[in-house]
């Protein structure tokens, strides 16, 4: 337990509330969500100013969540080679962005734009009340791609 806390501290994720689910709760999180919460993949940041990096920063007005998703793109092939995320929000939001970073890796930018929030929600079995978290992840992906493209235009134009 202590190890996990220190590991989480190292990842800068202590702002998340401690595991809200306990034995006996009527509705619990799906195991996929718990998996992403306990073993988050791709947490971290890229250098925002790196020209190969696209940063998507989105927020959910209802719950005050913030989600940052970054992609690293191979300039020659246009493929996403790596991704990182940092999310402040509920377990579902964190899991959604974690899943998003996993799914964008190794795909072309045009392809990731077709990732739908419903797919993320299905993968995590999100209840209706948490659907907006997956929507946020979809928006984050789109924002990251958009940011990268805009940066390219700027560097090419300059």
């Amino acid at each position: 337990m202590m190890m996990r806390q220190t590991a989480k501290k190292a990842l800068g994720l202590t702002s998340r509330q401690s595991t809200p689910w306990s034995v006996g709760i009527f509705r619990s999180y799906h195991e996929n969500v718990i998996d992403h919460y306990d073993n988050p993949r791709n947490v971290g940041s890229f250098d925002k100013n790196d020209p190969t990096v696209g940063t998507g920063l989105v927020g959910a007005p209802a719950c005050g969540d913030v989600m940052k998703l970054q992609i690293k793109v191979d300039e020659k092939t246009g493929q996403i080679v790596d991704a990182r995320f940092k999310t402040f929000g509920c377990g579902s939001a964190i899991a959604s962005s974690s899943v998003a970073t996993e799914w964008v890796k190794g795909k072309a930018m045009e392809e990731v734009l077709t990732i739908k929030n419903t797919e993320i929600a299905k993968h995590l079995s999100l209840p209706p009340v948490k659907l907006h978290c997956s929507m946020l992840a979809e928006d984050a992906i789109k924002a990251a791609v958009k940011d990268y493209k805009e940066k390219r235009v700027k560097t090419n134009g300059a």
Binding site: G12, L13, T14, S15, Q17, G24, F26, L57, V58, G59, A60, P61, A62, C63, G64, D65, V66, K68, K86, F88, H132, M135, L136, D139, A143
Partner: protein, 270 residues
């Protein structure tokens, strides 16, 4: 397993209660059997027993008289008729009938500000809210209405819940702001994703600072900064709302939501 049963049981009782008790709009065609059994004073032949409202009657043409017909959704402040004594008033009788003092069913046209006798504005004197809340609960709390009929006790429970909800909504600045906007028909769209980079960057950094803060001193410092920002945006909201700059008001509410969330996180850590 037990919990599921309890949940199902409570839901089914709730549903049967709802269906067996008339809502405010249908008090005009109350069930004579129900009142007859519980309240001997009810005079079924009096003017209170009105024919069912004609469904085709549009709300807007309703005259403000005691015998006005009320169609299904009484969301205007039309007159209401007491289910017990038939006393009718122009003002929606909130909670109690002015004539026979029996508890009325929840009337959705009564807004939270009316319950506490407050003006529909953002600035609020917290003390007055608390006092009035206690007064209402003294009259309405389900535990205190033993001597009344089952029907009235049910109404009391509903009214009590509404009063509690009202108090909760009006006490906190953010919910009060959102409620005010709602009353003015300007629903704050919570679904739309926020993409304002400056706002989000600031929030990201704030949340990171909270996450990295080690001791309570640092956290308290951040908290006071956030509280200050909240006050600032709260004032901006008041200003924007008064001047009917509703888009700006929505923006203020957004910011307040984020700051409130940050405060919650700090409190959790402390």
């Amino acid at each position: 397993m037990n919990r599921t049963k309890k949940l199902v049981a409570s839901i089914s009782t709730f549903l049967t209660r709802r269906t067996s008790h008339p809502s405010s709009s249908s008090t005009l065609r109350f069930n004579p059997l129900a009142t007859f059994a519980t309240n001997p004073q009810t005079n079924l032949t009096r003017e209170s027993l009105q024919p069912p409202p004609s469904p085709a009657k549009p709300l807007t043409i309703l005259p403000f008289s005691g015998r006005a017909f009320c169609s299904e959704s009484c969301d205007k402040r039309s007159s209401s008729v007491c289910w017990n004594c038939g006393f009718s008033s122009e003002k929606a009788a909130f909670l109690f009938c002015h004539s026979c003092r029996s508890i009325q069913p929840v009337d959705d046209s009564v807004d939270y500000f009316q319950i506490f006798g407050l003006e529909k504005k953002y600035e609020l004197d917290g003390g007055s809210l608390e006092g009035k809340y206690k007064d209402w609960q003294k009259k309405l709390h389900p535990d205190l209405v033993h001597n009344k009929s089952q029907k009235e006790r049910d109404y009391a429970a509903e009214q009590s819940a509404k009063v509690t909800e009202a108090c909760r909504t009006l006490t906190k600045r953010l919910s009060r702001a959102m409620y005010l906007m709602k009353l003015n028909g300007k629903n704050v769209n919570e679904e739309e994703t926020v993409t304002d980079p400056t706002l989000l960057m600031e929030m990201m950094e704030l949340r990171e600072a909270i996450a990295e803060a080690d001791d309570s001193k640092e956290l308290n410092q951040i908290q006071s900064q956030v509280q200050e920002k909240l006050k600032q945006w709260s004032d901006s909201f008041a200003d924007a709302f008064e001047s009917e700059r509703f888009d700006e008001a929505v923006n203020c509410i957004r910011r307040m939501t984020y700051y409130e969330k940050a405060c919650e996180e700090i409190v959790k850590k402390l």
